[in-house]
């Protein structure tokens, strides 16, 4: 008797609660049906390329976006360094649930294209002012075979930083403008006690020295890669590496360094000149106890620079509504006003001409003339090593550079080896793709 009663009351309870859930469900969905559309939820995975505040700046921008777009909600997801971000995106791609948008380093373009992961946004861009307003070099980092796969967001290049105090002490009043002057200036600034060097003339930021090396090759008027092969063994590249070897042999440049360590050395006055990313400008300016000068990387046949940093890419494997929302988001992050804001806050180079024509950046350039150097040099800049399997190719090239500078091997054979290994790896990946 007792048990029946409980059963009844339990059934009654179930019925009531089922009713309540249905009612709640209807209440929840009704407004959406009434407006005819759903809120589109997007994920945006991004790395932090400049320490500290980037996370706050990006989330701030995305909060603004979300509050000004009723139908789109973007979830900002910090994903570590560039490599970490790539791993996270690839893992999500592997299980078939990619984020709608993400920000990789531009070298990864062919890798993601090889996975058939990227949406082609050429027609969306043509209907807009993209091709007119973006700096052509920057736009080129998201292009492959005339098709556009993203919008450039955080762009950087290497530049030459120099310690104005040490220059004054050595009686030098201008930064070197070509390779010969670079070597001479470095000689004049090197200080040694016996066999120890207490102050180097110049240091190239290690770890990314392959990125800097490509800039040197570009200064010899060659882009040492195409989308399916590398040409590190071309005479232009060999000549660039021979110049590096000469600098090491003259004792004006350390044969190896690290990315972090070279910046620290510069701030501590242990190297008078430094090749490093424009992204480091704010940090170097704020942390150095002396005035920091910024100049073009010296030219040889021409000026040349390689673009680091990356574009916002959009996933192919998503419904049209989501792709359109992703475009709206990428377009908004790279609009004139936001590129201005981003450039001022971080030191990345704004990718839009209209940003640089605006009053805001004009005032900024007056205060920080160094920012202008980066922009002007961008006219000579292009994408960085966009080949399949760029991770391995970078390692082959870096190892060739390191071994040569350490004196283990001559430039020609080192670069020939690296080219052979890299092209074998690229061919292997291309075969697997087809």
């Amino acid at each position: 008797m007792k048990s029946t009663k409980t059963n009844i009351s339990r059934r009654h309870f179930l019925q009531t609660s089922a009713g309540a859930i249905t009612a709640a469900g209807m209440l929840g969905t009704t407004p959406l049906f009434a407006s005819g559309t759903d809120v589109v939820k997007l994920q945006f995975m991004y790395p932090v390329g400049v320490s500290g505040d980037i996370n706050r700046i990006v989330t701030g921008m995305i909060n603004n976006f979300n509050s000004s777009h009723e139908k789109i909600q973007v979830e900002p997801i910090y994903a570590g360094s560039y490599d970490n971000t790539e791993q996270k995106v690839m893992t999500s791609l592997g299980v078939g649930e990619p984020p709608a948008t993400w920000l990789p380093i531009n070298s990864a373009l062919q890798t993601f294209l090889g996975m058939d992961a990227l949406a082609d946004v050429t027609s969306l861009a043509k209907a807009d002012d993209i091709y007119q307003d973006f700096l052509p070099g920057f736009l080129s980092i998201c292009e492959s075979e005339e098709k556009l796969y993203g919008l450039p967001f955080q762009c950087s290049t290497p530049v030459l930083y120099y310690n104005k105090d040490l220059f004054a002490k050595a009686g030098i009043n201008k930064a070197p403008d070509n390779w010969t002057e670079l070597l001479e200036t470095a000689k004049a600034l090197t200080i040694r006690n016996g066999s120890d060097v207490s102050q180097w003339g110049v240091t190239f930021g290690g770890g990314w020295h392959d990125w800097i090396f490509e800039s040197f090759v570009r200064q010899n008027a060659l882009v040492p890669w195409q989308k399916d092969k590398v040409m590190f063994d071309a005479p232009e590249a060999i000549d660039a590496l021979e110049f590096w070897v000469k600098m090491v042999k003259e004792g004006v440049m350390p044969s190896a360094s690290t990315w972090q360590g070279s910046a620290n050395d510069f701030m501590a006055g242990r190297t008078a000149m430094l090749y490093h990313s424009t992204g480091s400008l704010t940090n170097l300016r704020k942390s150095s106890p002396f005035e920091v000068g910024v100049a073009f990387m010296p030219k040889n046949k021409t000026y040349g620079a390689t673009i680091g940093g990356g574009p916002i890419l959009m996933a192919k494997n998503q419904p049209d509504a989501h792709l359109n929302a992703s475009w709206t988001f990428a377009r908004w992050m790279t609009n004139t006003q936001n590129q201005t804001h981003w450039c001022k806050e971080t030191g990345y180079i704004a990718a839009r001409k209209s940003s640089w024509e605006g009053e805001d950046l004009k005032t900024f350039v007056n205060e920080v003339p160094a920012a202008k150097v980066a922009l002007d040099q961008a006219a000579y800049a292009g994408a960085f090593l966009q080949v399949p399997g760029y991770h391995k190719v970078r390692e082959y090239l870096k190892s060739a550079l390191d071994r040569t500078l350490a004196g283990e091997i001559d430039p020609t054979s080192a670069l020939k080896d690296a080219t052979k290994q890299s092209n074998r790896e690229i061919e292997r990946l291309m075969r697997r793709r087809s």
């Binding site: 932090v48 400049v50 500290g52 505040d53 996370n55 560039y82 299980v95 620290n264």
Partner: protein, 274 residues
């Protein structure tokens, strides 16, 4: 008398420089965390900060919600440790004291798990966690680590050292497997358990890549990700704020160690005496 004086002070004379080696980096971290950015690399400004600047702490805390991160770190590390202690003591007991078919084969598989670098099984773990519907939650960071081949191995070796007379006596007193494990084995291998706990806590407290991979929201992320915001970048680390954040991240572990120091040391001493 003379000899004991030497013993007393001589030992200290040797140990003091060694202690400096260990404490040095910690002091350096503390000192850097109260400097200005310019002072860090300026060789003229000396080793000590000119004025103590506490601004780095709030500035570091503003980069990410470190309070939430710390709670999560505690829960993840603690959760993993509790699960591991349960699973490894049961498994180790079985391997050490029970006969069952294919025991050696299964044990070799356990050992094989130690050889695999964690990165090699990231994708399969990722898929498992996703199938379980745990993505972007605290359990996603705990579940893959609830069992430990290394811990099982360590504890099995310790259990094998326990004389079988003790467990036989327990059996005579009417103990089943579980009570034998609880009353006889676990108390006797406490040093091993503590050694394993230290290794496990340090490993998972500092884990970076896996939490980064399976979490998206700030509400479920852990301390190393917060540190990554200040350190992993191509512009060079923001040393003063990074060191301030490091102090915050390592202090709970240091505090725990100071509180339980006597117990840690005691258990290692016992291990030596046996």
């Amino acid at each position: 008398m003379k000899q004991s004086m030497f013993k007393k002070y001589g030992l200290h004379a040797i140990l003091f420089p060694v202690a400096i080696l260990w404490i040095g980096p910690l002091i350096w971290i503390l000192v850097t965390s109260v400097k200005t950015r310019v002072e860090v690399f300026d060789s003229n400004s000396g080793l000590l900060p000119q004025n103590f600047i506490w601004d780095n702490y709030p500035a570091a805390m503003s980069v990410a919600p470190f309070g939430t991160y710390m709670m999560n770190s505690f829960m993840v590390t603690g959760g993993i440790l509790i699960c591991q202690i349960v699973t490894i003591s049961l498994a180790a007991y079985a391997f050490a004291r029970i006969k069952f078919p294919f025991k050696n084969v299964i044990f070799s598989l356990f050992l094989l798990q130690i050889m695999f670098p964690i990165y090699a099984i990231f994708l399969t773990n990722f898929i498992t966690v996703r199938e379980l519907g745990l993505m972007n939650s605290l359990p996603a960071m705990i579940v893959p680590f609830v069992a430990s081949g290394y811990g099982t191995f360590m504890l099995r070796q310790a259990f094998m050292q326990v004389p079988s007379e003790l467990s036989d006596a327990a059996k005579l007193d009417g103990c089943g497997h579980f009570s034998t494990l609880w009353h006889v084995y676990l108390p006797l291998v406490r040093p091993t358990l503590i050694a394993f706990a230290i290794i496990s806590v340090v490993t998972h407290w500092n884990d970076y890549m896996w939490p980064l991979l399976v979490t998206n929201s700030e509400s479920v992320r852990t301390l190393p990700i917060g540190l990554g915001l200040l350190a992993k970048s191509d512009s060079g680390a923001d040393w003063t704020r990074l060191m301030a954040a490091t102090v915050i991240v390592i202090s709970p572990l240091l505090l725990l160690f100071v509180i339980f120091q006597r117990r840690f040391v005691d258990s290692f001493m016992h291990a030596g005496l046996k």
